[in-house]
């Protein structure tokens, strides 16, 4: 494989799969924050 092809493949993986990982992490984090903020039982 040429260097340019390797670079583009790595960039594609980093952006798309990295974006997916960030999206999942954000969703899980936000879900957890919402749950803590809105579940009254947590204040008991």
């Amino acid at each position: 494989m040429s260097t340019a092809a390797i670079v583009m493949m790595v960039v594609a993986m980093a952006v798309i799969w990295g974006g997916l990982a960030l999206a999942i992490a954000s969703l899980l984090h936000h879900g957890a924050v919402e749950e803590r903020a809105e579940d009254p039982r947590r204040d008991l």
């Binding site: 340019a4 493949m9 960039v11 594609a12 952006v15 798309i16 974006g19 999206a23 969703l27 919402e34």
Partner: protein, 537 residues
Amino acid sequence: MSTPAGQAAQPDQERRRGGFSSRRVFILAAIGSAVGLGNIWRFPYVAYENGGGAFLLPYLVALLTAGIPFLLLDYAIGHRHRGSAPLSFARLRRGTEGLGWWQVGICFVIAVYYAAVIAWALRYTFFSLDEAWGADPEGFFFGEFLQAGDVRVTADVVPGVLWPLALVWLAVLVIMALGVQRGIGVTSLVVIPVLVLAFAALVVQALLLPGAGAGLDALFAPEWSALTSASVWAAAFGQIFFSLSVGFGIMITYASYVGRREDMVGSGLVVGFSNSGFELLAGIGVFAALGFMAQANGVPVDEVASGGIGLAFIAFPAIISEAPAGALLGVLFFGALVIAGITSLISVIEVVISAVRDKLDTGRLTATLAVGVPAAVLSLVLFSTTSGIYVLDVVDHFVNQYGILVVALVSMLVVAWALRALPVLGAHLNVHGRPRVGTGWRLLTSVVAPAGLAVVLVLALRDDLAAPYEDYPAWLLLVLGWALVVALPLIGFLLARLPWRAGTHLDGPPPGSDPAEPLHAPDPAPHTRHQDDGGPR
């Protein structure tokens, strides 16, 4: 107009619709819908043909500026109005119900022919075990398997296609009859991880083949000059639209089955990136295998590179015949096609079933049979014959180019500019969604995404007017192509004139659907309740 009694009955009606039991199930179902045959056999070749590694740039731009914003628009419409596509549009504004039925019509047509391709893949999963195609995969596919003759519509049945097609429809009808959670949800929960694992195994096997590097080089080597071509950008927008299942009712329907407090923006980002992530995986696997084939035949990769049916049923069998452990490669590849196809097919047919249920207030089983049996019969009659491949090719081309694209464009323009509903839909997404959507999302949804779609549409129209598609006879293109895409909106707006069942709430979102309501309020969303989900009434 709804009556007070109708409003009181609304939460009960909504519970009867069924729903996904959790956000995870919804996300897997939405990924299952988005990840289809196009991810595996369309994306790799489109990327290769349009600049290789450089295609990544317009592809990502299209994903972030059009695909995901449009996905969120669909989610907002379905999640806020809690109905099938026709009901959601009717609740948005009565006069736009026809748009929903237009989308339903497109889904019905897609379901009818999509099942045939899954049936082919099912047969080829077993053909892989003994390489039934022999030394001539192309001759085997068109000759022995499909028995395709001259281009004409015939009633000569091909038993080798008939019975796997019947099996596919039987499986789909059982899944659909089981309901939203027990059918679609559980199927997605089980088969999506299997699909990812199977394809990952295929990629590993393909990467270990000699010549894989040359294939990846062909796919990823950037041709930067391609970025100045309008057709390359149109190809990127087209790929994103076709791949994400946006604009023709699927995501509206699925979003209506999600609990009202779920984060639809975060879910949309996960679905959008998962779809692209799978496409990237497919590109690596497919081109690694094509690199092997090129090396084995002593030719450059561009002589073996192909997409669509040619890639799946001609190029891949040739690869399987030459690769070590080819049977395993074949089972993984065609098995992945079957799984990806089934999860997409059930989402397409659910658009129709959901619409029938909402309009006629029928039970799950009744609606499944009312929709699924005619669809299956049509599918068997049209696509298990010796002319099935031609009919499929023409219908697929026209429904994709002028069905999905046009209804998506019209829907987006109507919602954004005629109804000016984006602010209220954005506010709905922001109640529990993160990141928040604002002016940028409204701009992308009202200007950038429609502009991208319009360019794709104009370029496709230019090509089809310049020369008959694939040199098919004019009568075939007229009847199964142009006439079909013109008939669908007409039928859609006629169906919109039929009355809704008594008590259906049609003025805006139904009572109890506000996601800002406190947690202790009864959640009408069928989050964990599925009394009617699958039960005949």
